[in-house]
Amino acid sequence: MNRVVITGLGIYSCIGRNLDEVKDSLYHGRSGIGFMKERKDLGFRSALSGILEKPNLKGILDRRLRVGLAEQGEYAYLSTLEALKNARIDNDYLQNHEAGIIFGNDSSSAAVIESTDIVREKKDTMLLGSGYIFQAMNSTVSMNLSVIFKLRGVNFTVSAACASGSHAIGLGYVFIKNGMQDMVVCGGAQEVNPFSMGSFDALSAFSVRESDPQKASRPFDKNRDGLVPSGGAATVILESYESAVKRGAPILGEVIGYGFSSNGEHISQSNIDGLHRAMQMSLKDANLKPEDIGYINAHATSTIHGDISEAIAIADVFGHHRPPVSSTKSMTGHECWMAGASEIVYSTLMMQNSFIAPNINFGEPDEYSEKLNIVKQTANQDFNVFLSNSFGFGGTNSSIIVKKIL
């Protein structure tokens, strides 16, 4: 079995457009949440969202490579560009080696809706142009990035709701561990246009604390009232240890455990047993005991039911060891399909830079979160191993464990 290491990271999120900006935001507990008037005008119950700057790729990517990129694909292009650069991977390398891509993405609403509107209005599909088909499919991110970066290995998208990005990394890890690939560009991407969030808003799952957007996402806090949708993209370059050493690549961490489960129960509500089993499976895969985990990046989205289930499951698995826990969604909002990948980026940045980002807006625990060691203020401390949880609709669960190479 091969060891699997992280040799590159990239991020484009509402708390920063690159690793340096994001590291700074994490350290200072800075929120990226704001109010999007456009959503209110469209009749949204909540107009809160992560606020992202739209990239302008004209002059960076040629037209043919741009037209198939949906919004989240543009974010993913930038995060992947950054990750490849800091992994010291250039075009020559990619043309001469079989690097794969597995990205998490579970919608591309704007392209689907806009193209359908054109067909309805014009009644002529020839007036759609060439871009929508490549933007509208769930595999839009992996299909476009594989062409742009000339990737020649495994190539597909993971659609697993809000655990998509985490499973993408888990599967990349499995492919490399088994010797089927030497390098896989993994990640997750999430659109933030209003079309992507209308049906989710309909579930009344979003916070309506619109008078104070940056206080709205408050995972584990007794007074939370729902999640804040967000998005962007994150890229994690996974590589076999042997390949990384041979290239002289920077090794930012080692993926040592992947656990997953399905609740087999409710479509939108998590259960304790499923979360428990995913975490236990990742610990078993990593050959670790609960006390070996130095930090847990919780999935906790700031919904009452989800946070409670996770708090109970973490308390069950980790008992009296009580490792530090925070949900970076308190700053970023819920980055949905991207979250499982971005939270590996956030946690690895923390591990590299010896701090734990705070679970901001955690004012008062409830009876379940009070049993956890939730980090309220930035903690300047080393840790060597972290576990990152991601859970999604349909009861899909994923836990990833990463350790520092000492």
Binding site: K58, R64, L127, S130
Partner: protein, 83 residues
């Protein structure tokens, strides 16, 4: 719309939308091999023509359009036919 206006509008969208350089736009230039316009680009050209000149291109009509001059001539003919 006279010929010059039509040619000018075509050149403008080739530069602005397709990011070609103005000095590439020679009448004898082959659309595919000289200007790099591929089959997917033709799909986008249909949309731009409808928006710019107000008529719908049928795919088969473009089959004999090889050079930029062919393209100018095709659009001029269609615009005048609709006039």
């Amino acid at each position: 719309m006279n010929k010059e206006e039509i040619i000018n509008k075509i050149n403008v969208f080739l530069v602005e939308e397709f990011e070609l350089e103005a000095d590439q736009l020679k009448p004898e230039a082959l659309l595919k091999s000289d200007l790099g316009i591929d089959s997917l680009d033709f799909v986008d050209i249909i949309v731009i023509i409808e928006r710019t000149f107000g008529f719908k291109v049928k795919g088969e009509e473009m089959a004999n359009v090889k050079t930029l001059q062919d393209f100018y001539d095709y659009v001029i003919t269609r615009v005048n036919a609709n006039a």
